[in-house]
């Protein structure tokens, strides 16, 4: 595996390409080391799939990337679901931050 550096933009690019994602938000939650990311992924490929299948799709698309980082979190929505959530939350949707402390992940060096 090449020692590529993983960044918000490299993950975004990979998801856009590999999952035909129409909207991707990637947020570094590592607090600087660049090893933990959380994301919101909007792709029509999620349609008709349950949460587990969607995550498996993302995990497969980012297999090498996830293997290199400490923590990975994702919210997977279809374009329709995303529109609905945007309307419901007043645009206040985004990558999940559960399990983090104010958006920074803790304890993943273990």
């Amino acid at each position: 595996m090449a020692e590529t550096s993983i960044s918000e933009s490299s993950i975004k690019e990979a998801l856009t390409l590999r999952l035909k994602a129409t909207h991707v938000e990637v947020q570094d939650m590592s607090g600087g080391c660049g090893q933990s990311f959380t994301s919101l992924i909007v792709s029509p490929e999620f349609a008709g799939k349950n949460s587990l299948k969607r995550h498996r799709l993302v995990n497969a698309a980012l297999k090498d990337e996830i293997a290199q980082i400490h923590a990975w979190s994702a919210k997977c929505q279809t374009p329709e679901e995303w529109e609905k959530e945007k309307a419901a939350t007043g645009g206040n949707d985004g990558p999940p931050l559960d399990g983090t402390s104010e958006g920074k992940v803790v304890g993943v060096d273990q």
Partner: protein, 185 residues
């Protein structure tokens, strides 16, 4: 050097025989598990040829698979986590254990395994579940998901429904006492 320890038959018997002191309080401490038990090495050979390649290293040995099979079957609800229910070592494991607590999972029907105690388990469970991260939740031997899925199922009501169907929640007087306790606080 990989630790040779893995979940032994003996350990799982201990798990099953854990004292059934179902406390009604929903602190995570109520979920007391075999995470504090050390894995026994008795079932494993002391030496094994070093893996020839990174590819081979990633293959799950039959022995590890069997041990994980047993771990997954050791209780209706099984969580593979970093740290123990009392002292999670990672925010995602903490969030997951807190949700199981909030849902009212019966400690007698729950087992947690600390992957930090066993390198083979830590790597093996990822392959076993085809899931790259910890924590991992199993319900009735079926893989449910990681922290993101646990959180979203908790929020949308699916988790409560599933746990209720599987009859793994603290029931009756205990649950009522707990609700009353929660109201007081």
């Amino acid at each position: 050097m990989l630790s040779r320890s893995i979940l032994s038959r003996r350990l799982l018997r201990q798990t099953a025989a854990l004292p059934t002191t179902a406390t009604a309080s929903f602190s995570t401490a109520a979920l007391r598990l075999p995470t504090t038990t050390t894995f026994s090495s008795s079932t494993r050979p002391l030496l094994r040829p070093a893996p020839a390649s990174p590819l081979l290293r990633r293959l799950l040995s039959d022995q590890t698979r069997q041990a994980i099979d047993k771990a997954v079957s050791s209780a209706p609800i099984v969580l593979f986590m970093k740290g123990t229910p009392e002292t999670p070592q990672c925010g995602f494991s903490r969030a997951s254990i807190q949700i199981l607590g909030l849902q009212g999972v019966d400690p007698d029907k729950f087992a947690a395994f600390n992957v930090l105690e066993d390198a083979e388990l830590r790597q093996g469970i990822k392959e076993y579940s085809d899931w790259p991260t910890i924590p991992q939740l199993y319900i009735d031997k079926e893989f449910v998901g990681g922290c993101d899925i646990i959180v979203s199922m908790h929020q949308n009501g699916e988790l409560a429904k599933l746990l209720d169907e599987k009859k793994v929640l603290v029931k009756g007087e205990e649950a009522e006492a707990e609700a009353a306790e929660a109201k007081k606080e």
